[in-house]
Point group: C2
Chain length 146, copies 2
DNA sequence: GTTTTACTTGCGAGTTTATTGCACTTATGG
DNA sequence: CCATAAGTGCAATAAACTCGCAAGTAAAAC
């Protein structure tokens, strides 16, 4: 009797883009699917370790590059000097970055699209993507020192 | 007879923030004042070299950090994995980054402020700054392969 | 103008993020 | 179960950036 899958193993997503379902990839896909904020490579490595999968940084970098190349993830940089990754499937959204505690929240439904159209016309610049981050102090940090 | 200054030497700006007016700093201030796009450290080093000032990268990094700390410049990152610097005095504006040729244009008069206010209220997040970049293909690059 | 002093810089070593080549291992299809 | 193409570990390398310390220099004091 085969074990009943308590949660899907991401094999379909991976095979769907011609990537083999290795333990590290499956675990990372799962991490990305269950985390509500973009994840950096060091966090991924720690996560894998906790799961008993020890992975070389080079491998994790290669994995996230593959994921991004195949369109599974998006690579973003929040002015930290390193990259973070989030599922590409998530709808258009932006980030609130707390400059004190590093907390990252998502925000959605902004209408940057209006601006994009204006730019396309006025500047003759074909916008393919945009990046919008707000920096400041999150609710919790405001409470701490006020 | 003292030489008539053909252009101001930035000493006032530097002394005004308690920074000594060294050749490298003067030259870099001048570069930032005459360039219409954010400058990275390598470009600064090349620029200094052309001016006959050879400066160690560590020194340039220290200079731009000081400039930013003193409020002369702003540090920005355009998803390139490195920092760029521009005068802080420039009014609020954003960037169009061509993903093909790397060209960077400024755009101003967007009304992100409206969004900022909404976020402050809805998310109880005190926004202190924001970063907005549009990526795409600039006018020149569109012509080249069309 | 010279001295003094504190600020600056160069140099070397080190850190972090990220990439690459190569040999070894493994997931997948037959 | 086997073959093989894909994936991984390891080591070397690269680029961006930082730090400590000794030597140099701008600015102020004399």
């Amino acid at each position: 009797m085969v074990n009943v899958k308590i949660q899907h193993d991401c094999k379909d997503e991976l095979n769907g883009v011609e990537l083999r379902a290795t333990p590290a990839r499956i675990a990372l896909m799962h991490l990305l699917e269950t985390t509500d904020r973009p994840v950096d490579v060091q966090t991924m490595i720690s996560f894998l370790e906790k799961k008993g999968i020890q992975a070389d940084p080079a491998t994790v970098f290669r994995i996230v590059n593959m994921f991004t190349e195949k369109g599974l993830t998006k690579q973003i940089q929040l002015q930290e000097g390193k990259s973070r990754y989030e599922l590409a499937a998530q709808n258009d959204h932006h980030h609130l970055v707390c400059t004190k505690c590093g907390d990252i929240q998502d925000i959605s439904d902004c209408n940057i699209e209006v601006l994009e159209k204006e730019i396309s016309l006025k500047k003759k610049f074909r916008v393919t993507s945009h990046s919008l981050e707000f920096f400041g102090i999150c609710n919790d940090c405001q409470k701490k020192t006020s």
